[in-house]
Symmetry: C2
Subunit: 256 residues, 2 copies
Amino acid sequence: MNSIFRRNNSESGDANKPTKPVTLYVIRLSPGCRVTWWYLIQTKIPYTLVDVDVITLDDKEEGTTEKKKLPEGCPPEGVPALVDGDILVFGVHSVLRYLSSRYCSYYAFGKTLPTRMRVESLIEWTENELHRVLGYRCVYPQISQKYRLPSNLASDQLVETGFKELAFLLEYLENKLLATGTSTSSVYLCDKELTVVDFFVATILMQAEWISFDLRLWPKLKSWLGSMKSQNGWDQVHKVHREFVQELKVLNEASL
Amino acid sequence: MNSIFRRNNSESGDANKPTKPVTLYVIRLSPGCRVTWWYLIQTKIPYTLVDVDVITLDDKEEGTTEKKKLPEGCPPEGVPALVDGDILVFGVHSVLRYLSSRYCSYYAFGKTLPTRMRVESLIEWTENELHRVLGYRCVYPQISQKYRLPSNLASDQLVETGFKELAFLLEYLENKLLATGTSTSSVYLCDKELTVVDFFVATILMQAEWISFDLRLWPKLKSWLGSMKSQNGWDQVHKVHREFVQELKVLNEASL
């Protein structure tokens, strides 16, 4: 019988754990890296964390910290990357899928096959659409020279049109994915229970804090994000994010 | 035993086929849609194809063809989408993963677990990096108003900087992924045999034909792409692409 029909074990303490800790290569400010790290914490899979890069505030600061190399075989921008014995997996979707199917019976992927396929599909959508628009169009060009276009006019247009696309995607999250419940405390994006999609979308929305973007126009989403912040493991994986937001705040105040 | 350890069946004629044809919703000009369609042809899984949209040459032509709706539950831009009984899957990675694990023993995903994980990881990289840069930065802004920025200057800068990123990615394909072989006829991107990554990367590189971009600076890649065009199923899934390239050529000649 194919494994996608196997019963889901909602307990994260599955017996089938690796004999040696897996190694996860991350950039702690990357939302995809944070969600894979969170998944290792939740499922109690033993792991070692390796930082491969530091996102700096501007290009002048680049090179001030030593960059640890990604494992041989990773492509450019190939984080998160997971090494488990002779197996290398990279990319948030692939790493989550590998861990979920190998070690923890699809923990937080939903209990039925239709739900699990919906979770997998929405992981892909979150990475391709939501992160592409919120990250690469709206937030990163305002923070890092690397993501800007050569002229300020072009960069501004990239960001402005990005926000129009973002509003469309936030409407979808607010009015389609969060529309079913009445009490926000029990509403999740894919299922009646928390799934990895909730945590992934939340880590991406957190990037909006870098530019002080407020979700008040999307009240269900704002409330849901608030409840996500109380999840076990949230504080641990967001420590560097919080420090970065504070650093940006100080810089902004200094430039006033 | 977990399914990711199951023996790979290199024959596409696996007995475990759906009782009713699956339905694949596609945009035929989308490379991700083409690769999932090709996978159904290769694996002989019975299917029905539904066209959901037509990419037009400019915004004025929009609305002239009836758009068939995506199934309920799909997000914006949620193609390819696959319906199989009560199961809905969307996104190229998710659809390929679903079909491969459910119906054809990971056909064209590699024969060992390390290879399969590499194939999955590179599917994700291809969608996130290669398509984002080649499609959304270099090609689509030159073809469709939808992907342009408000001013010509900004659009030009988007494309110009996109080409710098693209050259970096093509170097990676040429000098890392295609570096191992001496005879191009037997070289593939992930494995000694053809995998879905070869077909996916090839469909994306084909988008470059829309802007007459030539791969002559990357000879191994150009030769490999030539060999991909002789694959079974290639002509069928690229019919609308070829017509579109011809249409663009006529338009360009008329504007000279």
